[in-house]
Amino acid sequence: MDSTTANTKNRLSIAGATCQGCARKIRVALEPLVDDSAAVDVNIEQKTVTLPPGIDPTDAARRITEAGFPAQILSAEPTVAKSCCASNTTPSCSSGKGDADEAEAPVQKLASAASNSNANNDCNDGIQLAVTGATCASCVSTIEKALKSVSGVTHAHMNLADNTASASGQADAQALISAIESAGYGASVIDDPDAADERRQQQDRKRYRSLLVKMAVSLSLGLGMMIWGMGFGSMTVDPGNQTTWINLGILTLGVMIATGSHFFTSAWKAFVHHNANMDTLVALGTGTAWIYSMVVAVFPEALPEMARHVYFEASAMIIGLINLGQALELRAKGKTSEAVRRLLDLRAKTARVIRDGQEQDLPIEQVRKGDQIRVRPGEQLPVDGVVREGNTRIDESMLTGEPMPVSKAEGDEVSAGTLNTRGSIVYEATRVGSDTALAQIIRLVKKAQGSKPSIGRLADKISSVFVPSVMLIAIVAALAWYNLGPDPVIAHMMVAATTVLIIACPCALGLATPMSVMVGVGKAAEYGALIRQGEALQTAGKINLVILDKTGTITAGKPAVTQVHVVVEGDESHLLALAAGLEQHSEHPLAYAIMEKVRQDTIQPADITGFDSLNGKGVAGEYNGDTLRLGNRRWLEDEGLNVTPLDQAAQSITDNAGTPLFVALGTRVLGVIGVADAIKSDSRAAIERLHQAGIKVMMVTGDVDATAKAICASAGIDDYRAEVLPEDKADVVNDMRKKGYTVAMVGDGINDAPALAAADVGFAIGTGTDVAIESAAITLMRGSLHGVPDAIEISRATVKNIHQNLFGAFIYNSLGIPIAAGLLYPVWGILLSPIIAGAAMSMSSVTVVTNANRLRLFKTSHNVDNFAKQEQNQ
C-alpha cells in the first residue's frame, strides 16, 4: 500500500444520502475494506465520508457508488504532518486539507498543489536572490560555486535568463548575499517576486537605452577613426601624425571608460576572486589592443616600421558592437517571458466590493478575504472565491486552456483572472493577493522556467573552464605567431591574441539552455500544461510509452448514457423522454446520467405521475394510465415482461462496461439504455496523436479483462493491464521501465500518485486530486488527454531548440577560435580583424536568443480552434 493511502484520511463526497439508513448502507458497503465500520465517518449534512487511514479511496468510492450513492474523492487529510511543515509556520505550509468541504474546481486544485509545492520550496528551496552583474555561463558557475560554499547550502542554482539565484538548505540570506558579492556580483533577496520582476523590467529598460547610447558613442568614434585612417593616409604612425594618434589614443581611452567601464570593472571584480567571465575576455582584448596601439603611438621607434599600426578603432568598435549585442539580447530576453507576462496581465487592477450594502471600486490590494464582490458580464474576476448570488458562464481558458466557458452557479468556486462571459454574479473572496490560483500558477511557471535540465549542465561544466582556457589559447597563438609567423611578428601576435580573446563567446553557451527552457515552459503553459521541472521538459521528449489510468483519464469518470436501443425503430427520443420523466424524481447516479443526456439533446422529460423508487430494482410511475418501469432485467422479468428481444443490445452494453436499464410501458418492453463511464470525446484523437508521434499507449485498470479490452478497442489503445490493484500501478510502471521504455504515466486519482512518481514523467490531470498533481512533474490544467501529446511535442521542440543552440555555440567557438588564432593564414593568408571578431561574438549570443524565441511560434499538431468548434457542435 502506498504511503499516501497509508498515512492519510481520505474524504469522499457522496450524493443521494439523505438519512441514517443511507449512512448504514454506506458503512455496510465499506465493510470488506475496514476492520471496524464504525470508524467510517459518514456526514449526511455535509454529504461527505471520511475514511480511516489505510483505506484505498478509489476502491471505497467505487463500493459506495455501487451501493447507490455516487462518490467522488475529495481530498486527503494527512495524519502525519510533512516534516517540512512541522517546522514551518507559513500559511502556505500549514494549509491543511481539512477545510476542503466542497469539491474543488481544477484551477483551485492546481492552486493548492502549487501552494503545497511552494510550501515545500519555502522549506527546501529557501531563498530567492536577484543577481546583478552576471553576463555569461562562467558567471553562472562562479555564482553557483559561491552559494554552495556557504555552510548549510545543499543546492544552489543560478538562472542567467532572468538573473535570479536560489539556494536551498539552512543558510542565512545575508551569508548568501555576501558570498555572491565576494564573487564579484551584486545580490539582493527577492521578497516580493512580482515587485522584483517589475523592478528588473524597469532596470532592463534603462539598461537597454543606456547600452544603445554607449553603442552609438563608441561606434561613432571607431568608425570615424577607420574612415579617417582610410581616407587620410593609413593607420600607421609616422612622425607627421604621431601627436594626432596620441590624442586619438587618449580620446579612445576616454570613450572606452565612458562606454565600456562595466566590462573592465566586472572583469576586475572577477579576477580578484580568481574567476574569469565574458567581460574578462572583452577587457583583455580591447585593453591589449589599446595598450599596444599606445606603445606604437608614443614609441614608434621601438618597433619595426611594419609593426607601427594602431588599433584604437578596434578597441572602440569592439566595445560598441558588444554593447549593441547586449542591447539586442536584453530585448530578446524580455520576449521569452511573454507567457508569464500574459498571465500577469490577467490580474484585474480593481474590484467592485460590496461593503455595508454599498458597492465601491477598490484597488485589488485592498480586497480582503470574505469580501462580497460583484462581477458584471465581460469583466475579469479580481480574486478567487465562491459564487453567492447569480449564475453565469466563466471563460477559464486563460488558466486551463479549456476553450469552452464553464457554467458557474451558487456555491461554485471561481478563479482570479478568468472572464465572466454572461450573467452578473456576486461572489465571496476566499483567496486574495498571492494566494490566488493565478498567483500560484505564475509562481509555478516561473520556477519551472528557471530550472535547468541536465542537458544544460554540460554547457555549465565547459564554460566554467572556458575563459581561462581561451586566455591560454590566446597566449599560445601569440607565441606561435612570434616564433613562426611572418613580419611584422609583433603586430601579428597582438592581432591574433586580441582576436582570439574577442571572438570566444561564453555567453552563447550560457544562454543556450535557459533561454529555450524559458520559452518552452511558457509555451506549454499556453497549452494548459504546467511543467514543474526543467528536467521533465527534457525527459518528456524521450517518452516512448504512455501508460494511462482509465477512470477520469481516458473516461470522464462519471456515468453517462452511451447506448440507446429501442424495440421500435426511431423511438429513441420518446424512450429517453419517458426515462427522464421517471428519473427526474430520482437522485441515483444513473439518473443523473439520463438527465444529462436529455439536457444535451434538449428532450423534454415526459409527464409522469405516481413516482416510486424500488430499492435494488428500479423506478416506476404512471404514464397515460399505464405503468412505466425503468430498471434491471431481473425485476422486469419478475413482473412477467419479456426482455429477450433486447438481449443482444444488453450484451453490447455490458461488453462495453455499461449498465443496461430496461424501459417498459405496461406490458410492452420499449428499449434499453446503456449507462457507462464514457470515453471522453477527445481521448481517441489524443491517443492517435501519440501513435503518430511514435509512442506506444497502454492502459492500466482495475476492470475485468473483457471491459478493459472493449475500452482499448474503442479508444485505440495498444495494450492494457486489467484487474490491476490501485497499489500495483507503480509496479506496472516499474516493469515497463525495466523493459527499457521511457514511461509517462497519466492519472488523476490519489491511487495514481505512486505510479506518477515512479514514471519517468508523471502527468496529472488537473481535474484530479491534489496528491496526484503534487506527485506529477507535469499538470494538465485542461481535463483533456490532448495535453499529453501537446506537452510531448513542446518538449521535443524545446530539446531540439536547446541542441541547436548548444551546437551553434560549440561550433561557433570551435571554428571561431582557431580561425582567430590564424590557423587559415598558412593556407589562404586569412587573419581575422579583431573588429570582425567583436561583431561575430555579439552575433553569436543574439543568434542563440533569437533561435530560442523561434519556439514562441511553435504550434502543436492539435488545433485548439478546431477543438473548440467540435465542442460547440456537440
Binding site: S149, V150, H274, V476, L479, Y482
Partner: protein, 32 residues
C-alpha cells in the same frame, strides 16, 4: 635574447593563468 624573453614571458603568463584560475586557494575553494 628578445626572442627568449618574449617566449619566457608567454610561458610565465600561461603558468600565471593556470595558477590564478585553477590552483590558487580562494575563499570559495577553502570554504568548500
Amino acid at each position: 635574447m628578445t626572442s627568449f624573453l618574449v617566449n619566457l614571458t608567454g610561458l610565465a603568463l600561461m603558468a600565471a593563468v593556470v595558477w590564478w584560475f585553477w590552483l590558487a586557494p580562494t575563499d570559495t575553494k577553502t570554504k568548500r
